[in-house]
């Protein structure tokens, strides 16, 4: 799944480690979500979107949702 996490993170000059610490996950999980290897759960997606002050749809691209 495509996400805007990397872009939003860069805008805020935030490292993966810092974001992981804020949303209660590991740096490796943030990397996996960013490269599309792992699809975040609803709770984690909400935490990430909430951290950036956006909605889940604004951070995660659901255009290929039927493939999941």
């Amino acid at each position: 799944m495509k996400t805007r996490i990397k872009e939003l993170r860069k805008k805020r000059k935030l490292s993966q480690e810092e974001l992981a610490l804020e949303v209660g996950t590991t740096r490796q999980t943030i990397t996996s979500i960013e490269v599309g290897k792992y699809t975040a759960s609803l709770v984690l997606a909400y935490k990430i979107a909430h951290y950036f002050g956006l909605t889940i749809e604004e951070v995660f691209d659901f255009s290929n949702a039927n493939e999941f």
């Binding site: 999980t29 996996s32 709770v43």
Partner: protein
């Protein structure tokens, strides 16, 4: 986070206890090695060597975990990283795919059974140790594959 801090404290106490027990058993093993009878077989030596190695590994691992947990307890960020690592959803999925924590429990039980069985039948001892090594290797392999794929 306070609940997790209590949990870490409890783990430190447990690991410290394990270290002390391992050190005591290690000292006993060193002194008992001096009283090896002249007619002792090689397999008997292997079993006592295996036990000694196991005790030492448990002692060293417990000591390392005490140091690691103490450091985390004194640093708020390290404690949060540890908490996140334990509650991370991706890692939880990977662990469950690799058969954890059930596989660790069965491995410990099988090792205990192997040591006890070793006193009666050396073939059973070798078989159980080989089975434990095989299941741990498979679990580690699955974990590695999942970590690269997820």
């Amino acid at each position: 986070m306070e609940e997790f801090r209590t949990k870490v404290n409890r783990r430190i106490i447990l690991a410290s206890g394990l270290t002390l027990v391992a050190v005591a058993l290690g000292i006993y093993a060193v002194f008992s090695l001096q009283n090896v009878p002249d007619d002792a077989t090689m397999s008997a030596g292997f079993i006592s060597g295996f036990q000694f190695g196991l005790i030492m590994s448990i002692g060293i691992l417990s000591m390392v975990s005490v140091v690691k947990l103490r450091r985390a307890l004194n640093d708020e960020i390290k404690l949060k990283v540890l908490y996140n690592k334990e509650h991370d959803e991706r890692l939880k999925t990977i662990r469950s795919k690799a058969g954890q924590p059930l596989l660790s429990i069965t491995s410990v039980l099988m090792i205990i059974a192997a040591i006890i069985a070793g006193y009666f039948n050396i073939v059973v001892f070798y078989t159980l140790v080989a089975a434990v090594l095989a299941q741990l290797a498979i679990s580690a392999g699955v974990k590695l594959v999942c970590m690269t794929k997820m």
